[in-house]
Symmetry: C2
Subunit: 424 residues, 2 copies
């Protein structure tokens, strides 16, 4: 058994890429995650809108490394790190020594100090988030079928999505299609096409990471699908009854949060400096100051490359994971260490409903049906394993041909709301 | 709009068959279910053992009737019936008049007075039951990877299934395959083949509804798969620590209940006589005594046919649903009413792992691989819609070819145990 022990916390894109990069290196690896599955987050919104089933975008992590005896997978929650003694603490009381530690624990939703909004405006980070949002969307239509009060029915059929980045745009587009196409003819007391889908963005345009032309195209496409796009609109309140934009109140019983993220507490564990989003500030080699055997990668880390902050997206996490693996290999082999981490931006992609997308590869910019096919092929390519690729391709093909979505299940009961916060 | 209003409570096999049988009859129908989906219960155990995804065996009920405007689907829980005023009461406070009422609300688990076992020995009736059992099975293996105490690990790797009817037999066979084949090579601190699967049956043989020869064959097949079969074994206790058979205690952290069912409270709603399992006693036309406009069908009803009690299985529920629809049509048309309900038993089927099954069609009895193919084809045939048939066929084919199961996800947190019952 190899002597050098690498502990990787987090089985997301960054963590898996680091483990993969250390294949056949002379190390033993322990991969710790609090979930038993790797989740393909870029398609998570499709679970929330009944397009895909949970098992199509999630894979048991330990299956991926079944043939690599040097990798041990642990299902546990990390509660702390002691970088002086080089120890990771688990929630079951056990500890684990490491020689090198890679923290790739991702991020969660941020409500900008309004944590009381979390219960009424869930974000989309886990499979449970997705099935909860799916449940709320479907239940709203079901409740509308029984509602006799016109105003209340209107509120039930109003869906507000806060934040017009790729996730918000994609959610809004598919909810519109769900309401206006998939559910057509299924209700007797109202026409699901009456459903109102509102996409609310604080900034001046949707998809701000894309070019203004693609943003404009996206806005027009969404509006053709029946989405109301509200830019320059700062949300001032969220409740069970609806959402407020400044002084204006919109009655909406379903609210989805796609507006901000907060890094996981890696910086706190390590006692190192963090930026405003809670991301650990790391050097050009992805190490927090003063800790030469710890790397922080993915959207848990704050780092700049070529003078610009590296975005919190899957390709960046994968590049960081691969970089760290290269560094560890070089160090153990005694060869020259790779230089500073350089992020190569490969492009931005987002879909708008079933037959349209926008793609920005820098020099190449595409929109419409061709972009949509490219988006679909790229995402299928990045899924893990033949089984998932065929299954997702088949699910999409079925919806493309029939308009029918198979994962329209209301499961699990809604948890009771949390107790009211103490008044301050 | 038709004048005669038929209310159907329950979108299971019986309820849907009744609605289907009333197509083009001069009635309007309201179908009430507390879930938004019809569930193909015969394959539910395959969700619990990671073979199938939830969406492969469940369909949104309202989609089935999108093209039948005379059918209205309601997602609501029925809390009572007033047969004098011909009213159904819903949980949201609304009421609904009916001209004819069909109750097809199914059954739930029965713990024979030991309701405190329910939390540690869940049964298998809903999608949530299935994902909970799946979570417990997978978590047990995960916890075993971290457990350093040999006895505790042994308890984590012991799975007790109580009740050796078709569900118990099928669960035991597939858990054995999961442990001994699918998980092979994925753990570092133990060999999953060490897992102990115990099938506990109070009666003298497994699959008591089948012939003794097929029972014997099934027992031998299970034992070859590594299942310990304990017949004539009455469970005297269930706890978080394990299961007791008489004086013997078996440490087992995962227990599945497949031993008994209790009818839903239709008899209580109606104020009519019930049998010991809580089923409403109905006449030869499936009506409770004194209520000429109410039918109770499926495993909510206690009725005999040809001198034998009709079993609580899907084909019986479907036959009852079709019979009641025929009766209603005849009554409205003023033609001769069909005679008494006659149950035609079509046979018994059960699988034992992936390549073996037993089939008892009365004169024709099959076992082994041929029976397994027949079982598979029959079940795919009875699924609803091309999409599900192809999806399930594909999932099974993939497992058959690769041994890999795709739905190995631990989702949702375990609910806290219920408060201890008051001491008596």
């Amino acid at each position: 058994m190899a002597e050098h022990h690498v502990v990787v916390i987090g089985g997301g894109f960054g963590g898996l890429e680091a483990v993969n990069g250390l294949k056949n290196a002379n190390v033993r690896i322990t991969l710790i995650d609090r979930r038993n599955h790797h989740l393909f987050q870029p398609l998570l919104y499709q679970v929330a809108v009944t397009t895909l089933a949970t098992s199509e975008i999630a894979w048991p992590i330990r299956t991926l490394y079944r043939d690599q005896p040097h990798v041990r997978t642990i299902l546990a929650e990390v509660v702390g790190v002691d970088p002086n003694d080089k120890i990771v603490r688990l929630d079951n009381g056990q500890t684990m020594d490491y020689d090198t530690l890679i923290i790739a624990t991702g991020s969660t939703h941020a409500y900008f100090g309004k944590d009381e909004w979390a219960h009424v405006a869930p974000g989309l980070k886990t499979l449970e988030d997705a099935t909860m949002i799916r449940r709320r969307i479907l239940r709203a239509f079901e409740a509308a079928e029984l509602e006799q009060d016109t105003d209340k029915r209107r509120a039930l059929l109003t869906f507000a999505i806060i934040g017009a980045g790729p996730t918000g745009v994609e959610m809004a587009g598919i909810i519109a299609e769900l309401a206006h196409k998939t559910l057509h003819g299924e209700f007797r007391s109202f026409d699901p096409a009456e459903a109102r889908i509102i996409l609310i963005e604080g900034g001046p345009r949707v998809l701000s990471a894309f070019t203004p032309e693609l943003s404009e195209y996206t806005r027009n496409s969404l509006e053709k699908l029946g989405v109301e796009v509200r830019t320059d609109s700062i949300v001032s309140g969220c409740s069970e009854e609806g959402v407020s934009i400044g002084e204006e109140f919109i009655a909406a019983r379903t609210i989805v949060w796609a507006a901000g993220v907060q890094a996981s507490p890696a910086a706190k564990w390590l006692g190192v400096e963090a930026d405003r989003a809670g991301r650990a500030i790391v050097d050009e080699n992805l190490r927090p100051a003063g800790l030469s055997d710890v790397y922080v990668i993915g959207d848990t880390a704050a780092v700049a490359s070529n003078g610009k902050p590296v975005p919190g997206i899957a390709p960046a996490a994968k590049q960081m994971g691969a970089y760290v693996a290269r560094r560890i290999r070089s160090k153990l082999a005694g060869t020259e260490l790779p230089g500073r981490f350089n992020y190569r931006h490969q492009g931005n992609l987002a879909t708008i409903g079933t037959r349209s997308a926008v793609v920005d590869f820098g020099k190449i910019k595409l929109r419409g049906a061709l972009a949509w096919w490219l988006w679909g092929i790229a995402h299928i390519y990045f899924l893990i394993g033949t089984r998932s690729r065929m299954s997702v391709a088949w699910s999409w093909l079925w919806i493309y041909l029939t308009g029918q979505r198979s994962a329209r299940l209301i499961t699990q009961k809604e948890a009771a709301p949390p107790p009211a916060p103490p008044s301050t």
